[in-house]
């Protein structure tokens, strides 16, 4: 039997999908409305899945106090109510599609000291969600 502990977080942020490698016309064609020069925003939900032995003294894989503080510091505080393209250094280079946002969140959380980070799932809207489980050797299946 294997356990995965999931915690759900939220942040609100704006972004613009625009690639410096594409012409304005190509950007418009590829990204449509998401290419609006003034940006637009979402309420993002982030689900963080961690695994590890259940500590018999606490009954927990990880204490949520520790996980919450770590996620708050690494992700929520830097992302919440920000314009991702300008205010998060990684997205100055990489277009903040939710695929890239999801990978960035995974990379920021991968060194959580109290449990093993298995997967990160990001909901951009109720209807679009993305999942990243690290580079290929770490791919997890459900």
């Amino acid at each position: 039997m294997k356990l995965l502990l999931w915690r759900r977080y939220r942040f609100s942020a704006s972004h613009r999908l625009h690639s410096a490698q594409l012409s304005d016309e190509a950007n418009q064609r590829v990204y449509g409305k998401c290419n609006n020069p003034y940006g637009h925003g979402h309420n993002y939900f982030v689900e963080v899945g961690v695994s590890g032995p259940v500590d018999p003294a606490t009954g927990m894989i990880a204490n949520l106090v520790d996980l919450d503080a770590f996620v708050e510091r690494e992700v929520i505080e830097p992302f919440d109510h920000k314009y991702l393209n300008e205010e998060v250094a990684e997205f100055r280079e990489n277009v903040p599609t939710t695929e890239i946002v999801c990978m960035e969140i995974f990379n920021r959380l991968r060194n959580f000291p109290k449990a093993r980070l298995e997967r990160v799932r990001v909901e951009e809207t109720e209807r679009n969600s993305f999942e990243y489980a690290g580079p290929p050797e770490g791919v997890k299946h459900d």
Binding site: M1, L3, V54, A57, T97, N128
Partner: protein, 277 residues
């Protein structure tokens, strides 16, 4: 590797005088085609897996997913529900999978999940055919207290915070049970939902619903009733009782923001296949 899941909402309007499926939606957020009077409302979640396109940094443009599902899958649903309703369920999902499986290269269609209601879904994973997974949600309400008698009161408060309140506190737990199996060719069902309900009732609801978990559930005796431990107990109670197909996953929500998945050996996070949710 990345996964993208796009949920496509749509209605099949079967009542007499219902608008034609190609009519523009009245609210595309709520479904396209929109539900109009008596009809069937569905969501189909499409999960693609693969690498990102180097230009767009997209796995796939979600508009392409919507368009293809609307073009290929929804008319097929419409036809099946009107003219071959006995093929609804597993056969319909399998045939829809075949219609869509090569639609978004180079991304792979990893999973199709059809929600029959907000509480029940059927999903097909590319590598598990002809098996399908059926998920059903149940609810129970219970109280608990997180406290380890081996620790001092101060340590308990530090470790468990509010959850250490000596009088306990409670939650509405939501339990999602997923069973995997080959659909019965006669009934098209992975398992009998009534049978699943009876097992749930006996093993979980009767034991845990409206109970104080620390004192009233013998299976939790000597354990701290965290979400991890409750989910494990539920897995161990259910796993031997599911005899048609097998228990694939137990997901227990203590709140919408905290939940635990429990998988069997050789399944789930350590192997198996498919996509999340």
């Amino acid at each position: 590797m990345f996964r993208l899941t796009r949920e496509v909402r749509f209605a099949i309007n079967t009542a007499a005088g219902a608008p034609a499926p190609e009519r523009p939606p009245t609210n595309s957020y709520a479904g396209y085609p929109s539900l109009s009077g008596l009809g069937h409302y569905f969501t189909l979640a499409v999960t693609l897996a693969g690498d990102l396109d180097p230009d767009s940094h997209y796995l796939e443009n979600i508009k392409q997913i919507d368009q293809t599902v609307r073009h290929l899958a929804i008319p097929f649903f419409d036809k099946t529900i009107r003219h071959a309703p006995s093929r609804f369920g597993a056969p319909l999902l399998a045939e829809t999978f075949d219609l869509l499986k090569n639609a978004w290269p180079p991304a792979r269609l990893e999973r199709l999940k059809l929600s029959l209601s907000p509480f029940c879904s059927l999903s097909l994973h590319a590598t598990e055919r002809p098996m399908m997974r059926l998920s059903q949600k149940f609810e129970f309400a219970a109280s608990h207290r997180l406290h380890n008698p081996a620790l001092s009161d101060e340590q308990n408060r530090q470790t468990f915070g509010k959850c250490n309140n000596p009088h306990g506190h409670g939650h509405n737990y939501v339990l999602e049970v997923t069973v995997a199996g080959e659909p019965d060719p006669a009934t098209g069902m992975v398992l009998d939902l009534k049978e699943l309900k009876d097992i749930l009732q006996r093993e979980v609801t009767d034991r845990m619903d409206h109970r104080f978990l620390n004192y009233e559930v013998p299976e939790l005796a000597g354990q701290i009733p965290t979400c991890e431990n409750i989910a494990s107990v539920i897995w161990r109670l259910l796993e031997p009782k599911i005899t048609r197909g097998h228990l694939n996953r137990v997901r227990l929500y203590e709140t919408p923001d905290l939940f635990v998945d429990c998988y069997g050996k050789g399944n789930g996070a350590t192997g198996g296949s498919g996509a999340a949710r």
